[in-house]
Structure formats: structure tokens, C-alpha cells
Symmetry: C2
Subunit: 292 residues, 2 copies
């Protein structure tokens, strides 16, 4: 039996349609569009390319996107000053600080300067903390509104839009990064899954993974999740972005695992296309919160 393919391209197209309608409604109501500022120091090629993608995506949605760059030689004070200027600008609703920042820059200190209300990338510790403190879904959250990093938010959306049951299920997240693994674990916990966070020090990774009704891979190593590690029928969400012989692949041995799993995200075309869309949803939400 071959797994159902969770098509991130198709789902992101559906979501773009929903966003376009919501942005049009917001804009006609308020007289301005939701606006993101992307900022970067230096010319890291991947950052340059990603910024271009974001600007194009947002403009197609009827949103405003601006790029703010500093040279590679920018100091901590100059970077912080730019963040503060964007924080203070009422015409900007969301700010994304592109990483990596130049060597010697204290990234944590830059993130901590972001206004949490404009931190649409969910990197400020107060947003991580609210996610961690939030009560399970269905109850009052008990915390102020918060932003979740777009990549794990996209993974969760794929599960929900495909009617994958989460509450009462076993979920395994392999990888504990700040931007994917840990927030994904916290999101699944909020949805009432029993969550295992596995990583490089996990003694029996295969045995741990085989417990998963929902298996999320966020390691950054090609083919680390093999077919013997997957429970038959499991939903497999692959956040990995790796290049092998010039081709993009995820963390999951896709060809073999899709014969065991019940649902699976391909790479490319799975979680990747969801990320910009979830970022756009966060910017729209930030604009709404700031318009109150």
C-alpha cells in the first residue's frame, strides 16, 4: 500500500486563495495592506534568494513587502538600530530578520529587540514562551496572542487540513532546533498528542520512531529516517532540506518510506511551499492585532 502524498504545493495554493480574500477584505476595511519588512545584513546568497521569494509572494497576495539591507560590516548597534526603526514604524506590521547575521553579531540580542507584536517569524523568546505556556487548544490560551515559526506552523496545518487525528496520538519529533523541532513539539503537545522529542543522543532512534502515529523529521540529514523506523500507516512530515548530488531531498528515505507510511510529505513540494504562506498568515494576523 502506498502512502497518500500530502501535497504542499496544492495546499499552499488553496491557502493563498484564502489569504488573498482576507487581505482584500483587510485592505478595503483599513485603507492599507498588511506589510512585512525583511531585513538582512550582508549578501549571503541563500538569504538574498529567499528575500526575493518573500517579496514576490507578498506582492502577489496584495500585501506590502520592503527589503532593508545593511552591509556585511554592519555593527551590532547598527543592526539593533534598524530593528528599532522598523519596530517604531506604524506602516510595518511584521519584521523578519534574515539569518545568518554577520560573524560576531549576537543574534539572540537582535531577536530580543524585535517587538513581539511584529515578530511574525516567531523568534523572540516571548513568543516561544507563550507557545510553551499556552493551554491545550479548546481551552482559553491563558497567554497573550503569539506567533509560531512558519515552518512548523505549516507542518501542523498540513496535518489538520488532511484530517490527521492528533489528539490522543503518539507523535515523535526528530530534531530539537529552536526554529522547527521544539516549536513543532510544543504545537503537537497543545493539540493533545503525547510527544517524544528525539535527537542525536537518542539511544534507540528506530524504536522511538516506530511508536509514532505522527513522525516529524527536522534533522537536516538525508535519509536518516528509513522504512524500518516507520509504523505502518503513520503520517510522516519531512521538514528536511538537504542536497545530495545536486538534488533536493528531505530527511526521510522517501521512496521506501512511502510504501510503509499512511501519509507522507514529499521533498520538494511538501512542507517547503507551506512556509511562505504561513508567514503571510502571520503578517495578516499581526496587521489585524495592530489595527485593534
Amino acid at each position: 500500500m502506498t502512502a497518500t502524498i500530502l501535497d504542499g504545493k496544492a495546499l499552499s495554493a488553496t491557502l493563498r486563495g484564502e489569504i488573498d480574500a482576507a487581505v482584500a477584505e483587510f485592505t478595503s476595511q483599513h485603507g492599507y495592506a498588511p506589510a512585512i519588512a525583511v531585513m538582512r545584513a550582508g549578501e549571503d546568497p541563500a538569504s538574498v534568494s529567499y528575500a526575493g521569494q518573500i517579496l514576490k509572494t507578498f506582492e502577489k497576495r496584495g500585501m506590502t513587502a520592503s527589503l532593508h539591507t545593511l552591509p556585511e560590516t554592519a555593527t551590532q548597534a547598527e543592526i539593533v538600530a534598524l530593528v528599532q526603526q522598523l519596530n517604531a514604524d506604524p506602516a510595518i506590521h511584521g519584521i523578519m530578520v534574515q539569518e545568518p547575521l554577520p560573524k560576531g553579531i549576537d543574534e539572540a540580542a537582535v531577536k530580543a529587540v524585535l517587538s513581539p507584536d511584529k515578530d511574525v517569524d516567531g523568534v523572540h523568546p516571548v513568543n516561544t514562551g507563550r507557545l510553551a505556556q499556552a493551554a491545550p487548544v479548546g481551552r482559553p490560551a491563558g497567554v497573550a496572542p503569539f506567533f509560531v515559526p512558519a515552518t512548523p506552523a505549516g507542518g501542523l496545518e498540513m496535518l489538520k487540513r488532511n484530517d490527521v487525528a492528533i489528539s490522543g496520538k503518539m507523535a515523535v519529533v526528530v530534531g530539537r532546533s529552536t526554529i522547527v523541532g521544539k516549536p513543532m513539539a510544543l504545537l503537537l503537545m497543545r493539540e493533545n498528542a503525547t510527544v517524544i522529542v528525539a535527537h542525536s543522543r537518542t539511544p534507540d532512534l528506530a524504536g522511538v520512531c516506530r511508536q509514532a502515529d505522527i513522525l516529524c523529521a527536522a534533522v537536516g540529514r538525508a535519509n536518516i529516517i528509513t522504512a524500518d523506523m516507520v509504523k505502518p500507516g503513520a503520517a510522516v512530515i519531512d521538514f528536511g532540506v538537504n542536497f545530495v548530488d545536486g538534488s533536493m531531498c528531505g530527511d526521510v528515505d522517501y521512496e521506501a518510506v512511502k510504501e510503509v507510511a499512511g501519509l507522507i510529505t514529499p521533498v520538494p513540494g511538501g512542507t517547503g511551499p507551506m512556509t511562505n504562506v504561513m508567514l503571510a498568515i502571520n503578517v495578516l494576523e499581526a496587521a489585524r492585532l495592530q489595527a485593534r
Copy 2:
């Protein structure tokens, strides 16, 4: 084989000795003692009693402790104003807001007003977020200094002081509260354990618990952890505080489990006595950070 009893009374006495020496050194160096402010609105009997304990404990350590009370009828604005006054007072290094606050008060909004630098109880979302974002121990944390809630910090200290291996081990935390379960899970993750967070919606709680080399119970239900749920030789940390027929007990069926576990904390006399001591350590650390 009977488990080794992890004696919280004895360990907290050892730690008090260490704190007393460190407080004396701090005080002679700076000319003032580390100071905590405990604040409360209303006269909840458990809060009144706990405040009394804290004040006594801190004064015995040579630290300064002050109590700040508002009536049960205090408004949100009055409570927030008191927090802000304590934030601004340079003679106070740590603030603890006692819960429950009166009905109708937005507790999350009160916590969010606390200065994170004085949040020695680790309840501000920025402190939770830094704990969640912090890199594994042994690497640069990658975040600003932060405070961990005293109860889970005490549980971790008991493991460490008894040379329980954590890295590479399986840890199960039963309960996902903001004040114990979730921070304990994040602490164990930082220490390189593979962590499972189980709760009321976990399908096979016994099977999940039996995976644990380190089993932490933070549910608040007497005897929910029975002997058949414990892997022989496991370290069992009981955070539960329950009363059955007027006697205090934990979440673990202590008499039966101590015949299976390798190490176990009793209730009373286990994690409980550690809490005030860990709070004192946090206040000393806050005073040090503010003296820089």
C-alpha cells in the same frame, strides 16, 4: 531490592549551607543582601502560609524578604502598579507573585509586566522562551540568562546531585503544566535526554512510563503512578502534592514503587523541601546579575 531514597530534606540542608556561604560573600562584597519581594492580593490561606515560609527561609539565609499585600478587591491596575513599583525598586532583586490572584484578574497580563530580570519564579514568558530556546548544556546557551521555576529546577538538582545519568537516557514527564511539567521536560531535553511528555490524553500511559530511565510525575493525583508502570531501576521524581485522608502524598504509589525503582523521592521530604532552596538560589543569581 528497595530503591535508594532521594532525601530532599538532607539535600536541601546541604544546599542551604552553600547558599549561606554565597550570600555572606555577596553581602560583604556589595554591602547589601539579595532581596526578594513576595506579593499577593487577597488572603488565600495556602498563599498566606507559603509566604510565611518563604520569609522565614530567606531571613535565615541572611537574605532580605518583604511581603507586599493588596486586598482581595484589588483591581488589575492596582496589581500591575505594585508589580511596576517593585520592578523599579533597585533594592529588590527578585519578585514572586503569589497565585491565585483574585477572580477576574488576568494572571498572564500580570506575569507579563514582571521585569524578566527579577522574575525569580520563572513565570514570565520570556524566561520560559529562553529555556525553550537554550542550546543543550555544554554549548553556549545562545540566549540571555534566564530563570527556571523552582520546583522543576529542584527536581533536576536532585538527579544531578545523586549522579543520575541524564544524557542519552529516556525521560518521561507525566503532566504538562506551565510551572512543573513543561519546564521539567525542557530542562531534561537540554541535558540531552530523550523526553516524552505524557498527560491525560496519553493512550497507553503505563507502556509510555515503562520506557523511562527517569520518570517524573507532576499530575496532582494520588497513586496515579503504580509499580507496573515503572521500569526496574528507574529514577522516580515525584512532584505531586496531594492529601488523602488528611495525609500528604505524591502522585506515585510510593510503597509499591520503591520496590521496583532504583531511586525515588518520598512525599513529603522529596522535591518539596528543594523548592524554597532553589528559589533562594534564583534570588541570589538575580542579585548577582543586577550588580553587574
